[in-house]
């Protein structure tokens, strides 16, 4: 028996044209979907479950009732059951920082005792990019961040996560991490499947357990934060483009002229 816990989050995607109201984007310009990275994390977990025997995949999210449909899509793709943490105290905070998420997720990890935790590298909305590693630290698990390849057989046979990590500048690092571990999953690690229609129908009957902070042994203090969202604005975008017009020869000559003026190229 092995358990994989996947943290998932519904994120708001902003339409091309939008308006900012206060410190947020007006609701009418938002569409909600599963965080892109989490889609890959779910797929990786489901692939492990399909490869091995007796493996349970559980997803956990912190979010309001609205996100159940998004969570159900992960259930449709093969997650066995889901936990949704929500609370009045959560509804009242307008910014849930990494520390608060860590406190909540730590409580879930301690209750569930998974062998592996997958998180997305980051969430597309507030992009802290820190929850996975912070959680690993809090629960005392090993971790590997920005994982873009995982040897599933090694996980099953040797209880070790043999991973490739994507580093800056196209460098690929190969690391071994003993379980239990937290891996933050990078896009491209796999090809997320479409939910099958039968999966969607079965997902309607799968459990999404709602947990309040008290159920996890926490109180409103757990979500307090010193981080405050003070302002949101669209930065002025500067563009300085010159468009050359004319035939290929003419435009090439104009480009050469500019390059020469800027001091590029051999004299």
């Amino acid at each position: 028996m092995m358990k994989v816990l996947v943290t998932v989050k519904e994120v708001a995607e902003v339409e091309e044209d939008f308006e900012i109201e206060g410190t947020g984007i007006a609701d009418r310009y938002l569409e909600y979907d599963l965080n892109e990275w989490d889609d890959y994390a779910v797929e990786e977990a489901v692939q492990i479950a399909e490869t091995g025997d007796d493996i349970e995949v559980v997803s956990v999210t912190i979010g309001p009732e609205r996100c159940e449909e998004t969570i159900r899509m992960a259930l449709a793709k093969g997650v066995d059951r889901a936990i949704r943490v929500w609370d009045d105290a959560l509804a009242e905070t307008d910014l849930l920082d990494v520390a608060a998420k860590t406190r909540i997720l730590r409580a879930v990890v301690e209750a569930e005792e998974p062998d592996l935790v997958f998180t997305g590298v980051q969430a597309g909305d507030d992009s802290f990019g820190a929850t996975g590693v912070s959680l690993a630290d809090a629960v005392g698990f090993e971790w590997a961040a920005v994982v873009n390849d995982l040897d599933v057989d090694a996980v099953l046979d040797e209880s070790v996560a043999r991973v490739h990590r994507e580093l800056e500048g196209g460098v690929d690092e190969v690391t071994e991490v003993d379980l239990p571990a937290v891996l933050t999953i990078q896009t491209g690690i796999n090809e997320p499947r479409y939910a099958s229609l039968r999966g969607i129908r079965q997902a309607q009957r799968k459990e999404i357990a709602e947990k309040h902070l008290a159920d996890l042994g926490l109180d409103a203090e757990a979500v307090e934060t010193d981080v405050r969202l003070t302002e949101m604005y669209e930065p002025e975008s500067e563009s300085d483009a010159t468009i050359f017009e004319g035939s290929a020869e003419e435009t090439a000559a104009q480009l050469a002229q500019v390059l020469r003026e800027k001091g590029v190229g051999a004299e």
Binding site: E69, M73, Y194, A195, L197, I200, R201
Partner: protein, 380 residues
């Protein structure tokens, strides 16, 4: 009355939409130009349990309802009328009658592979000499011992060239009129005397094969009779009641696809210093397109919900099909107009919707025949 779709239906619609946008839309024009039936797409649809949406799980289907089936068909139509038509013919015409009228053994042998999508289905009613007046058919099935022998020609049969089974209507009793027609399950790959003689080049929907088939002394065992002898015509009426809902859904999809293309273009395209959507003439056209599409969808969903409630839908499905097919043609035509010269090119989708939409006013009963059906239902 609840106009919100149930969550399950919404999730299914969204998933199929995502699949259609990612996997079908990019090749939709190419398969049209190549006149190619995209077997690989149907394979993927089978893997996602799409091919047997309204068929019972007991026989490998999804166990969904007609509303769910309509939603899926609409999404296919939104990207490819041809794939949508082959799909609707497979489900409503080739598969559903086996579930409704088949014996247990027939369901195991013929329904299951269709419901899972392993095989594609077809349904052969129309003949060269009998279209709108469909019961006036010449194809015959003569009993010979414990076999039937089929002779005749069927015209415009969707999917026949790809099918694992074809449900063929034939006259078993020439003196009995409507009650002399029966339905037979023909195996196009293994029954001698079955031949696809033409695959038509058409105005649109060219990735959906439309075939002429010849039945020359096709000898089949008697267990290929679907239902009882003489039930072929009542079966046909029931089949079309459901089938017309899917053509209405497909038409709604075509209209939606055309509207989407026009709306996006009208916001981007600038003439006289502003987006063309800001000109009253174009804005009014877009609003009108939206109105027709929404109306088509409402009528379609109403017919589907009634079907699921076990109520009679002869009038509702004919009305939905009549309205949605006209909406599809008009909306697609307007979409071409909104795109101007670009709308007339194959680089943009509206012309394809326009070509595809026209058939919806012809197949499964022409608009003239829908008027006849509705008129009769209204007591005229």
């Amino acid at each position: 009355m609840d106009f919100e779709l149930p969550a399950e239906h919404r999730m299914i619609r969204d998933t199929v939409r995502e699949f259609c946008e990612e996997e079908i839309e990019p090749i939709a024009q190419e398969i049209e130009n190549d006149h190619r039936f995209p077997a690989e797409i149907f394979g993927q649809l089978a893997d996602l349990d799409v091919m047997g949406v309204p068929i019972s799980e007991e026989y490998g289907g999804l166990g969904g309802d007609q509303l769910m089936y309509a939603l899926v068909t609409e999404e296919l139509g939104r990207v490819s009328g041809g794939i949508g038509l082959s799909y609707a013919a497979h489900v409503s015409l080739g598969t559903k009658p086996l579930e409704l009228f088949g014996t247990e053994a027939q369901k195991e042998r013929w329904l299951r592979p269709l419901a899972t999508g392993e095989e594609i289905g077809a349904w052969a009613l129309t003949e060269p000499g009998s279209g709108s007046d469909a019961s006036d058919m010449d194809t015959t099935a003569e009993k010979d011992g414990d076999e039937y022998v089929l002779d005749g020609t069927k015209q415009f049969i969707t999917n026949a060239s790809e099918a694992g089974s074809v449900l063929v209507k034939a006259v078993t009793d020439p003196d009995a009129g409507y009650d002399g027609i029966s339905t037979f399950i023909v195996d196009p790959r293994n029954d001698d005397g079955f031949e696809v003689t033409t695959v038509w080049d058409k105005m649109g929907l060219n990735c959906s094969p439309t075939c002429e088939i010849a039945l020359n002394g096709v000898r089949i065992p008697e267990d290929r009779l679907l239902g009882e002898e003489g039930e072929g015509w009542t079966q046909t009426m029931k089949t079309l009641d459901g089938g017309r809902i899917s053509i209405a859904a497909l038409s709604t999809g075509l209209a939606q696809g055309a509207y989407d293309a026009a709306a996006a273009y009208a916001k981007e395209r600038e003439q006289f210093g502003r987006p063309i959507s800001k000109f009253d003439a174009i804005r009014d056209k877009l609003v009108d397109m939206y109105r027709k599409t929404e109306r088509a969808r409402l009528l379609t969903h109403k017919a589907a919900v009634r079907y699921d409630g076990g109520q009679s839908v002869t009038k509702e499905s004919a009305l939905a099909k009549l309205d949605a097919s006209e909406a599809a043609r008009k909306v697609a035509e307007d979409a071409v107009q909104v795109l101007g010269g670009y709308g007339y090119t194959e680089d943009f989708a509206p012309q394809r919707f326009y070509r595809d939409a026209k058939l919806m006013e012809i197949g499964e009963g022409t608009s003239e025949i829908q008027h006849l059906v509705i008129g009769r239902q209204l007591g005229f």
